[in-house]
Structures are given as C-alpha cells and as structure tokens.
C-alpha cells in the first residue's frame, strides 16, 4: 500500500510539472496582451502599462483585477502626497499657503476615505459604476488641491500624477460597464 501511494504521488508530481513547462509561457503572453488591450483604451497608455506591469498581481488579473491595481496606485500616491503636505505644513508656511495646504490635506483624505475605499468595495462587489465615480472624483480632488494655491503650488507634480492615474483608473473601470 505504501509503495503504491509513493508511485501514485510521484506520478502526480510528474503530471503537475509537465503543464508548467508548456502552458505557463502562453498564459504570460495572454496576460501581457490583456494589459496592452486594456491600457490602449485609457488616456495615458504608457503610464498605464508601466504601473500595471510593475505589479506582480497583474499577471493573474482580469480587467477587474487590473482596475484594483490602479486603485492601489491611487492609494499609494495619495498617501505620499499627504506625507508631503504634512511635511510642508511643519515648515511654517505663510498663511495663504497654509490654508491651501490644509485644504489639500482634506482633499487627499477624501481620496483615501471616499474614492479609494468605495472603488475597492465596488469592484469587489460587482457594482463598478461606483468605482468609476470614485476614480473621476480623485481627479477632481487633485485639481481642486492644485487650484487652492494662489501662488505657485508645491504639489503640482503630485496633483498632476494623481489626475493622470485617476483618469487611467476610470478608463479601465469603464471597460467593465
């Protein structure tokens, strides 16, 4: 009985390793195509491919999964922006600047608490339109932050990046509708 089981399990192991050698590469190719096809329909194709390809989860993801990866990018960027805002606030800025920075902090908090949270829930629960709303709103919040500076904005790069990532995310979600 023991010998039989051993032979059986060896056979199992052999069976497992066989497809791994052949199908794997085909699947990688298919997923790379999905990323390209998905990003083709976004306003920032190269950015989209860059972000998606650099996330290991994209190899196994369908369009919903790709959208969730981009939402994660929004989250990461929003956190980074908030860190920078807090840093700038600590450097005792002038009153006008301080007000704008506080407003920006509120905007980026909204991106995290409202847009990102809702987008993830919506994508996971199969009601993608709320995720599209969240992505669109993230772009609006970033623009509002940028507009709150009467002089030069210290967050232009962050706001532009957020706007582009948000627009890309929205375009991916649109493909689910």
């Amino acid at each position: 009985m023991k010998t039989l089981s051993l032979i059986f399990c060896t056979l199992v192991m052999a069976t497992i390793s066989m497809p791994a050698g052949t199908n794997c590469r085909v699947i990688q190719q298919n997923k790379a195509n999905l990323i390209e096809e998905t990003c083709e329909q976004t306003p920032h194709r190269d950015l989209c491919i860059q972000y998606l390809s650099s996330d290991p989860r994209s190899t196994d993801a369908d369009v919903t999964g790709l959208a969730l990866i981009m939402v994660k990018v929004i989250k990461t960027k929003a956190n980074k922006a908030l860190d920078k805002i807090h840093q700038l606030l600590q450097e005792s800025p002038e009153p006008g600047q301080k007000e704008a920075l506080s407003s920006c902090a509120d905007r980026y908090k909204a991106i995290l608490e409202a847009d990102v949270a809702v987008a993830i829930a919506a994508l996971q629960k199969g009601n993608p339109k709320f995720a599209e709303d969240g992505a669109n709103d993230a772009a609006i919040e970033a623009t509002s932050c940028e507009n709150s500076f009467s002089g030069k904005s210290p967050l232009t790069n962050e706001n532009n990046a957020m706007h582009d990532v948000a627009a890309t995310t929205g375009a991916i979600v649109r493909q689910l509708l």
């Binding site: 059986f8 399990c9 497809p19 989860r57 196994d60 407003s103 009601n127 709320f130 509002s144 009467s150």
Partner: protein, 646 residues
C-alpha cells in the same frame, strides 16, 4: 416550501458555489493514508483546471465569468474633470465673471445650506436607489439603499420611512441589514408585491459573502403592524441564483410581480449578455420556488447592463394608474431600465404579448435604452408602484450628488429622492409619458407672488421680487411674439442642450426662462430655459434645458447643461414648473413631457442672498411671461415618534 428550483443545481457549473453557511454537516474522520491519496488526486485535478485558465482567482479578484472584451472607443470624458474657463458672455447685463483659477473653499455655512427641506433624505449618510415602495393600511412606505457607516457608498442596507401623504416622512428603524451570508456584501435593490389577500411580499437582491448576486424573499414580521417595522428574511433564502450563462455579478433588482392569465406570478430581472441589455423572466406560485421562462421579455443591443427594470401597464384612455397585473384592451405597457453605462433611466411604451412573454416597443427607433428618458438630468434607479388608495402610478427616483466627495464627507450626507411623480400616458402625443409632482406637494405652498404678462425684451433680465428664493414652487407660461416667429431669418439650426453654450448662447428665439438660485450681481445663477428653433418647413422645435455652467463659483461641482427636446402642440403656450429646494432643482416642461432634475451648489446665492429672475437672452423675440411663485414650507421630515401626532 421545499428546496429551491432546478436553477439551483444548474448553477454549480457557472461559478464556484457559495458555501451553505452554518448548515454543512461535518465530514466523518477517515484513515490517514486514504486521505493522502485522495488529496494527491485532487491536487492533480486542481492543477489541470488551473492551467486551463478558466477559474483562476487571485487575491485581488472575485470569481467572475469570462469578461467579454469588446473595445470601446471612448475614454473618461475630460470635460467632467477639468472646469473650463468662460469669458464674459454677450447679451445685456450679464455681469458674471468666472475665474477659473480660484478654488472656492467650502465652509459649513455653504455646505449646511445644501440640505433640502421637502425632498426625502435620511438624517445623514449615503442613500441611493428607492426600494419596495408601497401603500399599506393607510401609510405610504418607502425603503431605500442606505449606508449607515458614511456619506459614501458601502455595505448597503435598507432604510425605511412612512408617510400619510408621500411628502411628510417619518423615519423608522432600518428594515433589513446585511446580516446573512447571502446579503453580507449588501442588501440591494428590490420591489414589493401586494397579493390580492393583502400579503406583502418583498423580493430583493443580496450580494453574498462571495459577491454573487442572488434574489431573496422577505416579508413583514407582523402584518397587523401598519408601520411594518420588522421584517423577516425567508429562512431558505436565496430563492434565485444567477442562471447558467449569466454573470454572477449581472443579476439584480427584481421587479414587482404581475399575475399571468394562468394564475402564476411573474417577475423580471435585468442582466446583460456581452453588451446587450436583457430582461430575464421568472414565474412563481409562492415566491419561494421559481421557473425560468424561456427567452427574454426584451433585449436591446449596445445598451449594456440593465439595472432596476420596471415593467407596468398604462392606460391608453384614462387618467388613472393601473395595478401591475392589469392587461387587456386600452392598456399599453412600459419597460423602463436604468443603464449602468450612462447612469440614465430610459423607458419605452409598447405592447406586452403575454402568451409569448414578449414586449414590443411602439417605436423601435426609440427602444428601451436608446430613446426617451424619464429625466434628462440627475435621476437614476427609478421605480414605480401602484397606489391603490388614489388609483395612480407613482414614480420614485434617486437624485445623486454632482459635487465632490470631499464635500459629501464634510457635510455628512449624500443624495436625495425626487418628489414622487404621477406617471400617465400623454394622450396628446402618444408614446410619451407624463410625469408630474404628486398633488400633495402643493400642501407645502405658503404665500404666493403672481406676475402677469410681463414683456421681457431680447437681452434682458427681470428680477422677480419674492421673499426668499431657496424653497419655491414656480409655475410659468411664455409666449413668443408672433412677429418674431414669422420674421426670423434664422432657421433650421440643430440645438442640443448638452452640447450648447447654455443660457449664454443667443439665438433668435431663445434662450429664455428663469434664473433660479441666482444672486444679485449674477455671479452665480442657474437658468432653466426654453430654446426655440424654426425648421425649414416653418415648424418650431423647442428644447427645455437646465444650465449648471454658472451655477456656482466653486470649481469642483458639476457644470453640465441638461435637457432635451420637448413636444409643443399647435395651440399650446410654453409652460414650465420648477421645484427649488436648496441644492435640488426639479423642472418640468409642458405638463411633464420633458423633465430635468439638477443639483446646484452655490457659494453666494444662498440663504437671503438667493434671488429669482426672469430672463430673455434671445436676439429677436420678445417674450411675454406669466409667473406664479409660491414659498414652500418644510416637510419636517424627522424620526417617527409614537408620542407625537403623526
């Protein structure tokens, strides 16, 4: 009773089955060796399946059907993301200047003004679709999608309120929460059916703990309680699972049931196949077991997912509404859908062939999803019910926000419901529905101001001296002077509200109408207007629009121009009605042939600074206007208190 229908067993091949919850019996222990062998065998099977790629799941995704990949040619519309600068418009007395670069900071004064006083909304947090409206033992019941945790969408439960008159609402405890595995991720939209013996049946969609969309049955715990406070979920829920071939996340929003001539109850549930929106049909005798009716009630290619289907009869001759089960002579039917793709509600009037379970629209060019809309502004997930006490069909609609999430979170709430509207067939124009605010809203009218036969010359703005301007019921009539109509050389222009320049774009015969939520220096105003174009055959074509582009100095709010063509018959004056209730404006043209609802978020035209103006920005036509304006009282929507008179 008994187990769910054959569709249950069919489901196992279309998705990873939902666990049975706490009822699975424990497996008896086996010998270790046999377990090991069987385990290895299952590993083989698993790996074979995995490398075929059909059911790959990752930590990120939920199990879904194969996503059909069809290329779309449009991307996120940029106009909603970047506000565009508008210079000073031509025309007399437009003092507006719009500084694109100023981001207007929101303060509590501005935000708290936005709350409505006579539109239904919960005390706080997020609301979306109307659910299961009904009339029972002297009370109107209203349920709604609600997030008890915040001012954004989330794990949705059913809120509940009651009213004697569809206007004065009293909040009750939540009717249903997400406490079962089959609605753990959301107690979603559903509809009520009242049986001939008075029993109330509620069917609703649950998003299961695995995000599969299933249909569930619920009913009042105590039918003798007119307030229907407590609800029981049928212990053997779900009663319907997504059938094979239908996406597990494309199966939601069951309708009110209607009786077939065979004595069965029939419901429809929306879905999609690739990009074709479809209406599935099920029959049942007891609302517990169902049989899928072969075929589809209706389908329209290219329309995408059909949410919140509504299907009801409409009287061709009479003015009354009809019970959902009515069919026969002098009856047409309406199919209405909410399109996931564009967040708009569409309907079509047509005939229902009961024998073949088929709906055929009167006008194929204006089929469901490509033709008429209930409302050309913000109005979604709408649902009707038959009010047997007044023999009318009443329409509820969700009016979402068009401000930023930042504002929603700051003010602590989001969304309102429209004032319930009666729905009838417009006899004079045929396949178009008329919607009109229920008469009970007029009980809120306080003092009125009347302005008769005001001659408004081209390019002028006329202030209407009323008390305050944030809570109004406005009724107005307009006549264009005949000379201008006959003499105008400009003709045959195509006009579309949404692509036009709004109230600032001057034509020979329009725009003219009212400026609501305007301030004294017109730095903020919201025009609701008519725009008339003369065709090459001399026929007049009228559009009715609501223009948000100058509604606020804030740059993070919606600035679109909503509206559509409105049929105007030979002998008719142009007429409109506008309900202004702080940040929501509902407009109706020609007795409700075309409706436009918008959200308005002024920063200056609030409280005592809000004004009302007549305007005429046409270049040739003088317009004679008669306007009656009522101040509107609050509906004092509040929690139900058993000690108070209700």
């Amino acid at each position: 009773m008994g187990s769910p229908s054959s569709s249950h067993s069919e489901l196992l091949c279309s998705y990873v089955p939902v666990p049975d919850g706490p009822h699975s019996p424990a497996e008896p222990p086996r010998k270790v060796m046999k377990v090991f062998v069987i385990f290895c065998g299952m590993l083989v099977l698993l790996f074979i399946l995995a490398f075929n790629g059909d059911h790959v799941t990752s930590t990120l995704t939920t199990t879904t059907n194969e996503q059909e990949f069809s290329p779309r040619t449009h991307t996120v519309p940029c106009s909603t993301l970047k506000p565009f600068s508008r210079g000073v418009s031509s025309g007399v007395s437009w003092k507006s200047s719009f500084n694109n670069d100023e981001s207007y900071p929101w303060n509590n004064t501005m935000l708290s003004w936005q709350r409505t006083v006579f539109h239904f909304q919960p005390e706080k947090n997020w609301m979306n679709d109307p659910n299961g409206p009904l009339y029972y033992k002297g009370w109107y019941h209203f349920f709604y999608q609600y997030n008890p945790k915040g001012a954004v969408w989330g794990v949705i439960v059913w809120g509940h309120a009651v009213s004697r008159d569809l206007i004065h609402w009293l909040h009750l405890p939540l009717a249903m929460v997400a406490d079962q595995w089959y609605d753990k991720n959301g107690v979603w939209t559903g509809s009520a059916t009242i049986l001939p013996d008075g029993q109330v049946i509620m069917l609703y969609t649950g998003s299961t703990n695995e995000s599969v969309q299933v249909q569930n049955l619920a009913y009042p715990a105590d039918p003798s309680d007119p307030l229907l406070v407590d609800w029981i979920k049928y212990p053997s829920n779900p009663v319907l699972f997504p059938p094979p071939g239908i996406g597990t996340m494309d199966f939601r929003d069951p309708t009110t049931a209607w009786l077939t001539s065979e004595g069965k109850w029939r419901i429809s549930i929306g879905s999609k196949l690739n990009k074709t929106g479809i209406a599935l049909v099920y029959d049942t005798n007891d609302f517990k077991t169902y049989e899928r009716v072969e075929g589809l009630l209706h389908a329209v290619p290219g329309t995408g997912m059909w949410e919140c289907i509504d299907f009801f009869p409409i009287s061709i001759k009479g003015e009354n509404g009809l019970d959902t089960s009515i069919n026969g002579e002098n009856v047409k039917h309406v199919v209405k859908v909410s399109l996931d793709d564009d967040r708009h509600d569409y309907y079509a009037v047509g005939t229902y062939d009961e024998k073949n379970v088929k709906f055929t629209p009167d006008d194929l060019k204006n089929d469901v999803g490509i033709g008429l809309r209930y409302d050309y502004g913000i109005f979604y997930a709408s649902k009707t019910f038959y009010d047997q006490s007044k023999e009318r069909r009443v329409l509820w609609g969700w009016i979402g926000e068009s401000d930023s999430e930042y504002s929603d979170v700051a003010k602590g709430w989001a969304s309102v419901q429209g004032i319930p509207r009666t729905v009838t067939l417009n006899k004079k124009t045929g396949s178009r529905l008329l919607q009109w605010p229920v008469a009970e809203v007029e009980s809120l009218r306080l003092r009125s101001d009347e302005f008769e036969n005001l001659k408004v010359k081209p390019g002028s703005v006329v202030p209407l001296e009323i008390e305050t301007a944030a809570q109004l019921d406005i009724v107005a009539e307009f006549e264009i002077d005949n000379k201008a109509l006959e003499m105008t050389s400009q003709f045959n222009r195509e006009y579309e509200c949404s692509t036009s320049g709004g109230a600032a774009e001057r034509g020979a015969l329009g725009p003219f109408g009212l400026l609501v939520l305007a301030n004294e220096d017109l730095s903020e105003y919201t025009p609701t207007y008519f725009y008339v174009v003369k065709g090459s055959d001399g026929q007049l074509k009228t559009s009715f629009c609501s223009d948000q582009s100058r509604s606020s100095l804030a740059t993070d709010v919606g600035k679109k121009i909503f509206g559509s063509f409105v049929p105007v018959l030979e002998d008719e004056k142009l007429s409109l009605r506008i309900l202004v209730d702080h940040s929501v404006v509902e407009s109706f043209a020609q007795g409700g042939r075309t409706c436009v609802t918008s959200r308005v978020y002024p920063t200056k035209a609030i409280y005592g600074a809000a004004r009302l103006f007549l305007f005429n920005n046409a270049t040739e036509a003088t317009v004679t206007a008669s306007v009656k304006v009522w101040q509107m009282n609050s509906a004092f929507i509040r929690p139900f208190n058993p000690n108070q008179r209700n």
